[in-house]
């Protein structure tokens, strides 16, 4: 059961993740958790090496293009270049990360950094290099795990929990087969959580802000962070100190965001950037449906369409489909209203209602 924060004005206990897990297995005089974690990472690295020749999805081409884009073109053109259909739709820290990865790339294969990306299939040196970048970025995940492992004894965190992160099959499939860079992002998230556990809320908040600037998908965790940090970091210390802390936290977060977005504010590209980051024109659903609530919405729409057609109403069959991955404009719904863009049209003026 998670420990509840005490309601007294005294220092609130930091976040306890470990109490959610089961009791640890019996101890032996075997190696430390850190050594075992490194061992597990090495074993996973061997498996990742074996995954190099497996199937690659279009995400491979996406990251290949971004690598070339950030290397060959100046930052001014990163969010406006349209030489490929796979436009850059991650926040600037990820673009900087791609730039970093592109630095050794010309030594591996000169065509890795050509814009526009050559149509020829990638050479094996190319594939190996990109796969290895994912494996190397997982070192950040290992670092966070080692930090968590240091604390493991004190917090009764069983080794199995750490092992399951390093050997997570979903992460292996998505990162090393399908091709994405979630490993190091998870590492950042775990780092942030580690700081929160230690009571270093400011550090945790700053790291989370950096994470947001790398992949805005983590915005879904932002409300929780906000509430926790507000309650834990700012409240309970009196108005003056609380306000001071709020300003401090806000300043930290704003500083991180400034580092990321300042160049693009200067170029006046914020509108373009936001439209790239939040492509509502793509529709409610991406190519492969995530099992979430909107599935029911679609199914309801289909059933209604079917019934109404049977009853004699003329309902058009929409041209747009639910399963395309690219940005489009027309409505895929037959009966029910197109949901999000109507609600969000003030924020997305290019969208037709």
């Amino acid at each position: 059961r998670p420990q509840r924060a005490q309601t007294t004005p005294h220092p609130v206990r930091p976040l306890q993740i470990s109490n959610w897990t089961t009791a640890p297995m019996a101890a032996t005089s075997s190696p430390s958790t850190a050594a075992a974690a490194m061992w597990a990472f090495a074993a996973a690295a061997c498996v990742k090496l074996l995954l190099v020749p497996t199937y690659r999805s279009t995400d491979f081409d996406v990251h290949r293009y971004w690598l070339a884009l950030t290397h060959a073109l100046p930052a001014r053109q990163w969010y406006t270049d349209a030489s490929s259909e796979w436009t850059l739709d991650y926040p600037p820290f990820f673009a900087y990360f791609s730039r970093l990865l592109s630095l050794p790339a010309p030594f591996v294969d000169a065509s890795l950094v050509d814009i526009p990306v050559p149509a020829a299939p990638p050479s094996s040196a190319y594939i190996l290099y990109l796969r290895l970048t994912v494996a190397f970025s997982d070192l950040l995940l290992l670092a966070s795990i080692l930090l968590l492992a240091r604390d493991a004894r004190r917090r009764q965190r069983p080794f199995l929990a750490l092992l399951l992160v390093l050997w997570s099959p979903a992460l292996l499939i998505v990162d090393h087969i399908h091709f994405q860079y979630n490993g190091f992002l998870m590492g950042l998230l775990l780092l942030s959580l580690h700081f929160l556990e230690q009571g270093k809320d400011l550090a945790g908040g700053v790291v989370f802000a950096a994470l947001l600037c790398s992949k805005h998908l983590f915005l879904v965790a932002a409300p929780v962070y906000f509430v926790y940090l507000f309650r834990h970091y700012c409240c309970g210390r009196g108005l003056a100190r609380g306000l001071g802390r709020l300003v401090l936290m806000g300043a930290g977060v704003v500083a991180v965001f400034a580092m990321a977005f300042a160049p693009f504010v200067y170029y006046g590209q914020m509108q373009q950037l936001l439209s790239r980051l939040f492509p509502f024109g793509r529709g409610l659903f991406h190519a492969y449906w995530a099992p979430n609530f909107w599935v029911f919405y679609i199914v309801l729409d289909k059933i209604l369409a079917f019934l109404l057609r049977r009853l004699g109403f003329s309902i058009e069959i929409p041209e747009a489909s639910f399963t395309r991955g690219l940005v489009g404009d027309s409505s895929p719904f037959s009966v029910l209203p197109k949901v999000l863009s109507r609600l969000l049209s003030p924020f997305y003026p290019r969208e037709e209602c």
Binding site: A27, A42, R157
Partner: protein, 535 residues
């Protein structure tokens, strides 16, 4: 002292005993010293752990299978993959009398069948399976050199399924028999069974050859391993039958024949009516052979046709660069130029017999389970080093008993596996399996040195020996990169292959001298108190 690493160990599965209750109750106060518990440390439930290790081994094999096979894209001859596919095509469409004969449909020059009939039957079974989904891959004549993603998947699955059906159960049976009866050691050996199972199943050479290069060694080695397990658990007739099947699948399994023969003979002689025992074994062996060779027993010519395909002496005493005696010494003594084939055959035969004679005699005199494992290693090694027409892949044969002895000789096993892999390095490079090589070697090293594993037990090596051994190790590591990056000089285009061969041979010689010595010394050590009698 052994056993301090583990808090408690549990006896291994006697089938009826329930799982020991190893875990503390979940509601007790959490243990302050949480340690890293890996699944193969004792007090893990045995069946689940064995399944876990088997699944991990299966995963490794499946992942290696994604890589290239031998002769991929190399028209017109291709490689072992095409050979196996071709045999499936032959055995599916032609009658059995034509399998070993040169006919218009069966061109023996393009990968003619050169394994005994059980291989042919296995090819036919697999051909039926492939024919059901992809007939184009095994169509007569038109499918020569057929390569596609689907056919690769199907062919890889034939190897994986053979492995699962034969090798894995044999390995599990072996570990079970090893632990149940004890192999010359007292109870302390029992706790390493998970590590032993991992060593047997994660044999890197076997994985790379079978699932990378593409062969079916898992079948003959699995049958042999089953026979070994049968001997350990005192089912000699079953063992004899399984070993005869192994010989009938690949004639190279004969490398183990002196060990089986010596051990069984020794055991029979110690029994009440030796002649009866020998005759029982003889019947089983002859019966198995007759069953397998049935289509060819009707005439002398048919049988000789098959046998001539199995023993191609015209190909010379060695081919390519293999780390055995003849090839290595041919740097100094040009055997092929000095002698014709017949005297060379005689010389290699006598050298081989001399080499396995000590271990054979030891087993006949005083058969024991542990001695049997050593004699398997010694006899297969003697064949590898001195026999005629040995291939580099034959190192798999001595490697099997070395992995079975992993608990008794952990250092030897690790050392031998490394050099066996190294001796296959040129082959790996030719097949473009470098990534898989590195990965499988890495995993082997990690499991071998796994925290809480058993590598530390066994013989203690003095620092002087370590210093001496590290020199070839460093040379070999250097050669790994040199072989790939640097061009050999024009006068000696195979310089690096020869160097690899030389280093491996030197280590193998030391190794075989050591194991022969150990087997002889078994007779002079008093038996530990409490071990069971083997007879």
């Amino acid at each position: 002292p052994p056993g301090t690493n583990q808090v408690r160990h549990q006896d291994l599965p006697e089938a009826k005993s329930p799982m020991a209750k190893p875990k503390k109750s979940r509601n007790s106060a959490p243990d302050p010293s949480v340690a890293a518990r890996l699944p193969w440390q004792p007090s893990a439930p045995p069946l689940a752990t064995a399944l876990l290790i088997s699944f991990a081994a299966l995963l490794l094999r499946a992942l290696v299978s994604v890589g290239p096979y031998s002769g991929q894209g190399a028209a017109p001859k291709f490689g072992d993959y095409e050979a196996q596919r071709h045999w499936m095509e032959l055995t599916l469409h032609l009658p059995s009398s034509d399998w070993y004969r040169n006919t218009s449909d069966n061109d023996l020059a393009h990968w003619g069948l050169d394994y005994p009939p059980l291989s042919a039957y296995q090819s036919r079974l697999h051909a039926h399976l492939i024919n059901a989904s992809l007939p184009d891959a095994v169509a007569l004549r038109s499918s020569r050199g057929f390569e596609s993603q689907e056919s690769k998947l199907l062919m890889r699955w034939t190897v994986l399924s053979s492995d699962l059906i034969l090798f894995f159960p044999a390995a599990l049976w072996f570990v079970w028999a090893y632990m149940k009866d004890g192999v010359g050691g007292s109870g302390e050996r029992r706790e390493g069974w998970t590590w032993l199972l991992a060593m047997v199943l994660l044999n890197p050479c076997l994985v790379l050859i079978d699932h990378g290069h593409f062969q079916y060694n898992c079948i003959s080695l699995g049958l042999t391993l089953g026979a070994i397990a049968g001997i350990l658990s005192r089912n000699e007739l079953v063992a004899a039958a399984l070993f005869s099947l192994a010989i009938n699948h690949k004639q190279m399994s004969m490398y183990f024949a002196p060990a089986f023969f010596g051990h069984l003979l020794g055991k029979c002689l110690k029994r009440k009516y030796p002649i009866v025992e020998i005759m029982k074994l003889g019947f089983v062996v002859l019966g198995t052979f007759a069953l397998v060779w049935w289509p060819y027993l009707h005439s002398y010519e048919a049988a000789m046709q098959v046998i001539s395909r199995l023993a191609p002496f015209e190909r010379g005493i060695y081919e390519d660069y293999v780390a055995n005696f003849w090839c290595t010494t041919s740097v100094l003594i040009k055997w092929k130029r000095l002698y014709a084939i017949k005297p060379l055959k005689l010389m290699s035969l006598s050298a081989t017999i001399l080499a396995f004679l000590p271990s054979f005699i030891q087993q006949v005199k005083s058969p024991s389970n542990l001695g049997f494992l050593y004699s398997l290693l010694n006899s297969s090694f003697s064949f590898y080093l001195f026999s005629y027409q040995v291939h580099e892949k034959s190192i798999l044969l001595p490697l099997l008993p070395a992995s079975l002895l992993a608990l008794h000789e952990p250092h030897l096993h690790g050392w031998f596996t490394y050099y066996a892999l190294f001796s296959m390095y040129p082959l790996i490079c030719r097949d473009q399996l470098l990534l898989q090589y590195i990965s499988v070697l890495g995993l082997f090293v990690l499991i071998y040195y796994s925290p809480g594993g058993n590598y530390g037990k066994g013989m203690k090596i003095s620092s002087g020996t370590m210093a001496v051994l590290s020199l070839p190790l460093l040379c070999s590591i250097l050669l790994h990169t040199v072989y790939l990056q640097i061009e050999p000089p024009k006068r000696y285009p195979f310089l690096f292959d020869a160097l690899i061969m030389f280093i491996c041979f030197s280590q193998f010689i030391i190794l075989t001298l050591y194991t022969n010595y150990k087997q002889w010394m078994l007779d002079f050590h008093p038996r530990p108190v409490g071990s069971k009698k083997d007879l």
